[in-house]
Symmetry: C2
Subunit: 324 residues, 2 copies
């Protein structure tokens, strides 16, 4: 059985062994730039962990794991164009460093590369892996569309928001675990349990991200603090604060979100002070805990000795104690 | 054995049976809009023809064929953003009708849908099909990048241009035929011959397209005549004309391509009159014929009775006698 560090090392080694710098240079340079970041590389790690949980051959999960990391990075490259985000992980985004055409096309290439990597495992596993991978890929796009739709909608229901983050974030985390379980030859019930564990962890993970966007340490988080507020993102934090605050504050909050003339810093400060007054931060943390507990229940339902689950449990814990 | 009309009918039926209009609406409406065009649907047709050539089960080739059409349309949606093209097949492009964010994301979704369709065939064929498909997808992106690179390069060699259109256009036509041959259970040698036939036909097809861009009938072609000149595309037509004209005209031609202030119509007219003087149109037609002959040689090398080849031959003929 492998430790978190063993698997992290395998993922890092695998990525640094890839020759992303090919020709034409202007296509592949942004890919190499994107892949050589200091990010968490959470998704491939989850794939290897899920495979190892079932005592599967982790070597056979390496390339499918890489596929998930490349796909995830592709979505970030395209999302950053759509969101006009200047920074990602403390560095310029691809569209900012090059231009949006380069970011579109390098992203497309990464998507195709992801599929190419996903094929590099046992041939008999390929159809199943690609089936769940493609379904997830489509759902991630649907989630991103909903996210964009919400920006111009006057009101968003909390359940709509939660469904959006399920699609945009949780599904890919879930399928990373699911693919690991498939390579690990888990039974259908356990493959499904891994997926569901991933959905719950993914929901909690996104809520944590929403919190960190406002309350995280800018330097370590690598994004501008309060970016969600600056771009009028109707996050759970915002939607719940709307619900919790009194009618007067609700008007102020809505006005702030509809005012495009107000300067970012001032807007973030004002919104944050209303958020703080409502105690919404604690409410989000409660919901996060609820998803986390459900995740643990899924993990417990899997028919594997408890010791094997410790690596996944430890990682899950560390994700929710992070402050960047 | 199926006729061209039979197979065309199958392709049209298959596409009209798909429910592209799903939720979120702003993601799927552009996909339905893109797929319901009156285009040639050449690539899926080639897949079915290649399968039928080897007496394969055409029903098993339907979804891989659809995958190629969806993928091709995805590349057009993204290319139109990059090229800022307002028209495609006589209608507004997706980025123009909606916006570029919608076009990016609907395109991404089509890419994922293409893979989902490609999986819907015999499971044992899936790894091989997806391997050649992914390789082609990457090469198409490389071709598009080279195409964009050429715009800002002072000079482009003719061989570089030909390699670019091989990647950007010929490879997808080739892989459409290759996948049909795979589903048709052809032997390795014949699968390769189908691919090579596709490369040669694809090269000829693109040269025809370059000609039609300038000499085609605008209404039927569905694009603005001379669009390549307007956007300074260094097509074979341009590069060969540069080679054929005298040094004085060469300066004029280069100046016209470097002058961003000159009005489109006037520029197209001036460039065209130099082209006409050099007789470059006939030179392009000769090269096209050369590719065509090589394609026929590939087809002849395939160990199948001559009669079975007639459908592919007829289609190839019709592609080169088209005037739009």
């Amino acid at each position: 059985m492998f430790s978190l560090q063993d698997l992290q090392e395998k993922v890092n080694q695998l990525i640094s062994n890839q020759e992303f710098k090919r020709k034409p240079q202007r296509l592949y340079d942004p890919i190499a730039y994107t892949m050589n970041h200091g990010g968490k590389r959470l998704r491939p790690l989850l794939t290897l962990m899920a495979c190892d949980l079932f005592d599967g051959d982790v070597e056979k999960a390496l390339y499918p794991a890489l596929a998930l990391e490349v796909f995830h990075n592709f979505t970030l490259v395209h999302d950053d164009i759509m969101d006009k985000a200047p920074l990602r992980r403390g560095r310029e985004t691809v569209f900012k460093k090059w231009d949006s055409n380069i970011a579109i096309l390098s992203g497309d290439t990464m998507f195709a590369l992801a599929y190419q990597y996903a094929l590099r495992t046992d041939y008999q596993l390929v159809p199943k892996i690609l089936e769940v991978f493609s379904k997830a890929a489509i759902e991630v796009c649907e989630g991103q569309q909903l996210d964009m739709d919400f920006e111009s909608m006057p009101t968003v229901k909390i359940e709509e928001y939660l469904d959006m983050i399920r699609l945009k974030t949780a599904v890919l985390i879930a399928v990373s675990l699911q693919i690991g379980a498939i390579v690990g030859n888990a039974c259908e019930k356990d493959i499904e349990a891994m997926y569901n564990f991933g959905i719950q962890i993914g929901m909690a993970f996104q809520l944590k991200d929403d919190l960190l966007d406002l309350y995280g340490e800018q330097e370590q988080f690598g994004k501008i603090t309060g970016g969600d507020i600056a771009s009028n993102k109707k996050t759970y934090l915002f939607l719940k604060a709307l619900e919790l605050c009194d009618s007067e504050e609700r008007v102020v909050l809505n006005d702030l979100y509809n005012d495009s003339s107000i300067e970012s810093d001032i807007k973030i400060g004002k919104v944050k002070s209303i958020f703080d007054k409502t105690g919404v931060q604690a409410t989000v943390e409660l919901l996060m805990q609820d998803y986390y507990n459900k995740a643990i229940n899924c993990l417990e339902s899997i028919d594997v000795v408890k010791e094997r689950k410790s690596v996944l449990l430890d990682l899950s814990d560390s994700l929710f104690s992070r402050n960047y």
